[in-house]
Assembly symmetry: C2
Homo-oligomer: 329 residues x 2
């Protein structure tokens, strides 16, 4: 049975409606039924072919009828789309659509949610007090121990910390936090249907500290966390040399890398496969993926945006939703 996914439109003045309109005509309907939460007019303004989509008022009806594709505004009507224009109101709509998607996921009406990008400045203007989407969602579902993950072209990274200054990432690095991240990464693989997932844990310092000569954290913080998780039955290895471990994952030795800070995972994965990058929030009680790009106001309305990341985000969400199925690795 196809996974039922809610896809939020994000900030309509960004590229969200453009990538969404393209993705809706290209996505794998056998893998997922989609409920778009957003503004039908913004969508049909960028693509005539979306005018016939099923606009629903009663979401319960969508769920039971399992129409493959429908659009719902969740009671929040956006202003007319002005590509590239910063707006508190489009920011507000984006957040409320997200809230509606989360509620559907918690209620079991959908199996997972996929989010298009919001504009951080826009949501701040609208009065939301959060760094972005992910914090907002984590708060709604009351899950403080989530981890930002990036999946890109077969590579996967789960981050011990995410949107914090690098100096703060060093302070956040504790044995407990690393061990939690290893467990979350391992569970994420299981939800993907990868049994006996192989977790590589990167070191923090150059050469993973070279036996303490290039830093103490690798031996004193990361190694004990790896040992703890191995003792609990997780197939994990580390701390591994950061400038080799991503290559080893690419070669098929590992299924995921636990990265010690945002850029340790993001820099290599986005170089290897930027267009297909998908953000995955692991450690939540619901399935949530997001495109790997932002609103890109600079190219909004110009027909340049590509739907690759959104299609990949739908694909990953569908896989994560079918965790009872055992996929081939």
């Amino acid at each position: 049975m196809p996974a039922r996914l809610a896809v939020t439109m994000g900030d309509i003045n960004g590229i969200g409606p453009e990538v969404l309109a393209q993705a809706l005509t290209m996505h794998d309907a056998s893998a997922c039924s989609l409920l778009v939460i957003g503004d039908a007019d913004a969508l049909s303004a960028v693509s005539a072919s979306t005018r016939d989509f099923n606009r629903v008022d009663d979401v319960g009806a969508w769920g039971s009828a399992s129409a493959p594709l429908a659009i719902w505004d969740a009671g929040h009507i956006a202003p007319t789309r002005v590509p590239g224009e910063l707006s508190a109101e489009t920011g507000r709509c984006a957040m409320e659509w997200t809230r509606a998607a989360v509620e559907l996921a918690l209620a079991g009406t959908v199996d997972g949610i996929v989010t298009c990008p919001i504009n951080k400045e826009g949501i701040r203007l609208a009065g939301y007090d959060c760094m972005g989407h992910t914090d907002f969602i984590a708060e709604l579902v009351d899950a403080p121990e989530y981890r930002m993950s990036l999946f890109a072209g077969g590579l996967r990274a789960v981050h011990v910390s995410a949107h914090v200054p690098l100096a703060e990432a060093l302070r956040l690095l504790t044995r407990e936090r690393v061990a939690d991240t290893i467990r979350i990464a391992h569970d994420g693989l299981k939800r993907l249907g990868i049994v006996r997932g192989r977790v590589a844990v990167a070191g923090l310092n150059p050469h993973a500290g070279e036996n303490g000569m290039l830093g103490h954290e690798d031996r004193e913080i990361i190694l004990p966390a790896v040992d703890e998780c191995r003792a609990a039955g997780i197939d994990c290895t580390g701390p591994l040399v950061p400038d080799a471990v991503f290559r080893h994952m690419q070669d098929g030795r590992y299924d995921v890398v636990v990265a010690m800070y945002h850029d340790q995972g993001h820099v290599p994965l986005k170089l290897a496969a930027m267009d297909e990058a998908v953000n995955v929030t692991l450690g939540l009680p619901i399935v949530r993926t997001s495109v790997g790009h932002g609103t890109a106001y600079d190219i909004a309305g110009k027909g340049l945006a590509k739907p690759d990341s959104l299609l990949a985000a739908m694909d990953v969400a569908a896989r994560l939703s079918n965790s009872n199925v055992e996929h081939a690795r």
Copy 2:
């Protein structure tokens, strides 16, 4: 005229002699004449075809005769090769061969040097008080402001700091040091024959600090350094988002990335092109490149080592040696 390069054999118990023997039969003789500094017996033990190479006692004669390929032991005879065995004596020979190469470069007998890997444990056993090759060479040529650079498959990174703990890299990040690195990177491009080289300067924090929300160094340290160098006529841009800048270099927008710490440059470049990775020490009065791998004791003697990195190191050294020639970009 081909560049005259001294190639040191490194620790003979590592893979140095193996990659060297292969590279000597494959290198581009029109681009470089090679003087191997090392042990002829170690070389002929791994490859019968190297037995006929010209063993020289008088290096002055090699220079003037410009024989395309010769071997010189610089008065340091190594013990019999035992692949994978840690040895103070092979460590000592590796370092003294390096010293001899540096002296030839300073004297102008060769145009540049290329080094095969040493074993850090071995040189420590032999009583050398340095982190590795690069410090040793920098001390010999009295150049404190050198920068470790990595060239790999068309990508180039010059690092503000190298073999230090990440926490120490944050402490070393000053406006002066970043500006020096930009200048060294720009000069390096010029030596490669790239006129009007385009220097991208990476940020330190996620999203290059996102206007100060994710760290202050990007705005307070890196930006002023970039401004200073632009005012001095260097085509440099930054601080740029770390997880996008390497992709932009790959797309041809920049010729080099100035990386804020070891792994910021090493992680993406080694993922993109590990086999071709070349270490380049910029900021020295001599040309010096090195293979991007170590002694690899675990595979030494097994016929598994590949010469790609050494061949690339020779190629880069030859290009850097011909700085008076203007190459196409």
